[in-house]
Structure formats: structure tokens, C-alpha cells
């Protein structure tokens, strides 16, 4: 049985290439999701910390920023994280799954 190759000069089987490509795609999405979670966690810690400092009974967190800057920074981090996690779960994951499905089912068609 002849093995299909990706290009003329490559001896790498097409299936291996597809598996590598799908693995890379899903790893990328995973990295994005972890980054989003880190942003959310940062926001969830920074926001209350900023509020506590604004009240005047707080401690320094991350760096010596003013309460207002910390407040906006924390909010931005939380919102970007939420947006990114929604984007990755609602858009990127289905798109990647669909692409990988088509990638592997192209032979049958």
C-alpha cells in the first residue's frame, strides 16, 4: 500500500502530519486558555487588593501602584481574561475541532 505524503520531497506520512498539525492547534488553544485563566486570576486578586488599598487598610500587591491604577489594571485583566476564555471556548475550540475533523475526514470524501 502506497503511503501518501504531504509533498513530493517529504517522506513524512500525511497522517503523521495531520496528527502533528491538530496537536499544535489544540496546544495553542490550551495555551490561550491557560493565559486567559491567569489573567482572570490576576484580576480576581488585584481588584480586591486595590479596593482594600483604596479604603486605606491594604497591602501592596505585585508592585507599588496607586489604588486607582491598580483598580483599572485589575479590571482590565479580569475583563480581558473573561473575553479570552469565552472566545476560546465559544469560537476557537469549535473552529479547531471542525477543522481537525475535516482534516481527518478528507480522505474518505
Amino acid at each position: 500500500m502506497q503511503t501518501k505524503t504531504l509533498c513530493k520531497f517529504s517522506r513524512i506520512p500525511q497522517t503523521v502530519c495531520r496528527i502533528a498539525l491538530s496537536a499544535a492547534i489544540f496546544t495553542g488553544i490550551l495555551v490561550v486558555m491557560v493565559f486567559a485563566l491567569a489573567l482572570i486570576a490576576n484580576g480576581m486578586i488585584t481588584l480586591p487588593s486595590a479596593v482594600i488599598r483604596a479604603v486605606g487598610k491594604g497591602s501592596i500587591f505585585v508592585s507599588d501602584l496607586s489604588a486607582l491604577t491598580m483598580l483599572f489594571f485589575g479590571a482590565a485583566s479580569l475583563l480581558f481574561g473573561l473575553g479570552l476564555i469565552l472566545l476560546s471556548t465559544a469560537r476557537l475550540c469549535p473552529a479547531a475541532a471542525s477543522y481537525v475533523y475535516r482534516l481527518f475526514s478528507s480522505d474518505k470524501e
Binding site: S59, D64, F72
Partner: protein, 261 residues
């Protein structure tokens, strides 16, 4: 295109956004606004912002009564070059230093602390320099911080350590000594002792006595004296004894124990 279609916009397909799409847009838009606001605050509004780290330095004449109370900033007690008590601090919360009816009180105002990444960066600490004079009453209370103390002496000495550590180079107590430890660690060398009590909940206490000290262990206490496990002998602690109550944790005492006759 017919005129009526052009007027009624029938040729245009308006895409209805799903809830998730709306949410994604709202989050990214609000995040961008917040980020811009944070940058604006840092660049323009808080241009003259000075560090929120609190620093202070004060000197007091020697008073026989001293109370040091801290929650999370380490305390270093060293010897003063003169007869004054010098107090300096670097902390993210206020440290109140005041005299209250002849008693000098050094108190870190309790605060809700989330994390202290900058503690090392700014060297948070309270430094107290004490003259080589005996105190009538000396109270050292630490919650979750470390207390490093040089040689001190006093008539009534109270040491409380919640979950931090207390390390006392040399202590001379001519009156009553009270040591209380929750889950922290206390190391000290006592060269003069007349009586007192030691209560340990679940911490570690290492005490070296220079001379003799009669220790009275309460029932159920785990205690090691001169390396040997010691148990209660049923005696009640007298005024000149060191009563030890330690239901759990570990108490190690090195001393020349007077054996009860």
C-alpha cells in the same frame, strides 16, 4: 434593485449577534477601556504618586514599660548606643509608636494583607534599639512574623507568639515570665529566672536555662527536659516554678532540674 427594497433595506442581511458574541465584545471593549484608563492614571493622574510604603523613625527616653505588638512585619530588637529607645520601621501598613501613661507602645496596625511580594523589595521591618537597662514590664507580642531580640532584662516579661517565631538571645527575668505560643516557634536563652508559666498549643519551644529552674509539668503535657521525655509528677506549680502546659507541639528545656523530694 427596486426602490422600495432600497428604502426598506431588504437587500441587507443584518447579522444577529448571539449572547456569547455580545459578551465577548463587551468584555474586550470594557477591558480595553480599563487598560487605557489604567495607563492614563499611571501616566497623568498619579504622576506625582509616591510610594505607599510607610517609613518612620522616632526616639524616646527610656521608659520601664515597653509593649511591642506586630502582625506581619518582622521585628529586630538590638542594643542602643545611648540611653534612648530608637524605633524605625518600614511597612506597608501604619506602625503606631506612642507613649501611653508611661508605657511605650510600638504597634503595627492590623490590616488585611493579601500578599507581600514587595516585603523583601522594600525590606519591611521594625527596628527597635533598646538600652542595656532592665524593664519593669516588657511585652513582646508577634502574630505571624519573626521576632529577633538581643539580650533583654525585665521584672515582668510576657512573650506571645501566634504563628511566627520569636528568637531571644538572652533573657533575664527577675519577676514573672509568661510565654505563650500557639503554633509558632520560640527559641530563647534564659540566664535569670524566678518563676512563670509556659503555655504551648501546637508550636515548638526550645529554652535553655543558664541556672536551675524547677519545672512543673501539667498532666497531658509533652515535654523534653535535658533530652529526656518528662511527665507530670502531680505537683502544682508554685510561684517560683516554671509551669508548663503543652497539650501538643513540642517543648524542649535544657536546665539543671531540681528534683522534687
Amino acid at each position: 434593485m427596486k426602490l422600495k427594497d432600497a428604502i426598506r433595506f431588504r437587500h441587507m442581511r443584518v447579522q444577529k449577534l448571539s449572547t456569547v458574541q455580545v459578551l465577548i465584545r463587551v468584555f474586550f471593549l470594557s477591558g480595553s477601556v480599563c487598560l487605557i484608563a489604567a495607563l492614563c492614571c499611571a501616566a497623568f493622574l498619579d504622576k506625582d504618586y509616591r510610594s505607599s510604603v510607610k517609613r518612620g523613625e522616632e526616639s524616646f527616653t527610656f521608659t520601664g514599660f515597653l509593649t511591642v505588638e506586630t502582625t506581619d512585619v518582622p521585628v529586630y530588637i538590638t542594643r542602643s548606643a545611648d540611653d534612648m529607645i530608637h524605633v524605625s520601621y518600614v511597612s506597608d501598613t501604619e506602625v503606631e509608636v506612642y507613649e501611653d501613661g508611661g508605657r511605650l507602645v510600638i504597634e503595627q496596625v492590623p490590616s488585611f494583607v493579601i500578599t507581600l511580594y514587595t516585603a523583601e523589595q522594600f525590606s519591611y521591618r521594625i527596628e527597635i534599639q533598646l538600652p542595656d537597662k532592665p524593664f519593669a514590664s516588657l511585652n513582646l507580642y508577634s502574630a505571624s512574623t519573626d521576632l529577633h531580640c538581643c539580650a533583654v532584662s525585665g521584672y515582668m516579661v510576657n512573650i506571645r507568639c501566634k504563628s511566627g517565631s520569636a528568637e531571644i538571645e538572652r533573657l533575664s527575668c527577675t519577676g514573672t515570665l509568661d510565654i505563650e505560643c500557639d503554633s509558632g516557634r520560640i527559641d530563647m536563652y534564659i540566664d535569670e529566672f524566678s518563676g512563670g508559666e509556659l503555655v504551648n498549643s501546637s508550636g515548638n519551644i526550645d529554652i535553655d536555662f543558664a541556672g536551675d529552674a524547677d519545672t512543673v509539668i501539667s498532666p497531658g503535657t509533652r515535654c523534653y527536659i535535658n533530652g529526656l521525655a518528662a511527665m507530670s509528677d502531680g505537683r502544682a506549680a508554685e510561684k517560683d516554678d516554671l509551669g508548663i502546659i503543652s497539650p501538643s507541639g513540642r517543648v524542649r528545656i535544657n536546665t539543671n532540674v531540681k528534683q522534687a523530694q
